[in-house]
């Protein structure tokens, strides 16, 4: 019996448009969320979303069917995002291009509110805002780990960073977000 990864690999080798339609449907939210975490701009993320699937079509033969498709997909989109920012805004994704730890940007102000304590949506918005102030490589690691559910090893494959570096980024990223949480709690 052919497992899902092999089936995807075979379909990509054939450039099967029906398979690609299904994959686009299946991974739409995850891919867009990941691209948003890289670019912090919805319009750019949507452009890169489309480019990613075109690239998947063109380079689909490179997917070996042994690793998770999502990890390969994120890796393709990551390269496109890096290329895009190299062309357009060389400074904005520095953190993804370099492998060094950067100081984190602490929250500018903390305005405690009793209402915030119980407003779950507010909490998400605060953490989302906090993500904007976290170095890009930490933000990427957090999104891949906690929003996309990738294992640490898969994140290492996507980002091309050593496993130890990935662990460090997740740990530091979580630590960087905690002041934003405390801001809500007062």
């Amino acid at each position: 019996m052919v497992d899902e990864k092999s089936e995807i690999a075979q379909g990509l080798r054939r450039r099967d448009p029906d398979l690609l339609d299904r994959l686009i449907e299946q991974y739409q939210h995850r891919l867009l969320r990941y691209l948003m975490s890289l670019t912090r701009n919805r319009a750019t993320a949507e452009d890169l979303f489309q480019e990613t699937w075109i690239r998947v079509l063109e380079r689909g033969r490179q997917y070996d069917g042994k690793h998770e498709f999502s990890a390969w997909l994120f890796s393709v989109s990551r390269h496109l995002a890096i290329d895009f920012f190299r062309r357009k805004q060389p400074a904005s994704l520095d953190g993804l291009l370099e492998d060094k730890d950067k100081p984190m940007d602490p929250p500018a102000s903390a305005e405690p509110s009793a209402f915030d304590l119980v407003a779950h949506r507010e909490l998400g918005e605060r953490i989302a805002a906090g993500l904007d102030h976290v170095a890009a490589e930490y933000r990427e690691a957090l999104v891949l780990r906690f929003q996309e559910g990738l294992s640490l090893e898969e994140i290492a494959v996507v980002t091309g960073a050593p496993l130890g570096t990935v662990k460090s980024r997740v740990y530091r990223g979580l630590s960087a977000l905690q002041p934003w949480l405390k801001g809500i709690r007062g």
Binding site: L20, M36, I54
Partner: protein, 166 residues
Amino acid sequence: MTNTGMTNTGMTNNDHVRARRMLALADAGELPAADRAWLESHLEACDSCRAFAQDTGDVVRALRSIPVAADRTLVAATQMRVRLRARELRQRDERLWLVGASCVAVTLAAAFTNLACWRGFTWLVERTHVPAATWPVAFVALWIVPALAASVLLLAKGTHLADHNS
């Protein structure tokens, strides 16, 4: 994060760091039983790591709750672009296949023609008693002259066009 909240229960700084890395890096289900038991006992005894665990859990839950959704238009537009590109690639592949097949056919035809011409020349030489050193030159010329003539014509046309454009 640097304040690990040392207590007087015999814990070392390494214990706190170990506990916090476990909390940050592993979902509860991913930890081996021995590590999980150690972590639980550590959290029971350490207020600051318990607070860290609570904060980490809240951050992770908040991260998972951030809504980012692709809209229907984006998905449909992407699917259409992918289908169009797939068709272009298929047509390109078909053209490449045609070019490849043509190359093979031309090569085979040239090989057979060459052989036939060579035999024809040999027969002609036998009939006309042409010196043996001469006819290979004529044979090579027969193949080269048309290509040379075509090259000269193309060059002349190119030069004429360049002059005309300038």
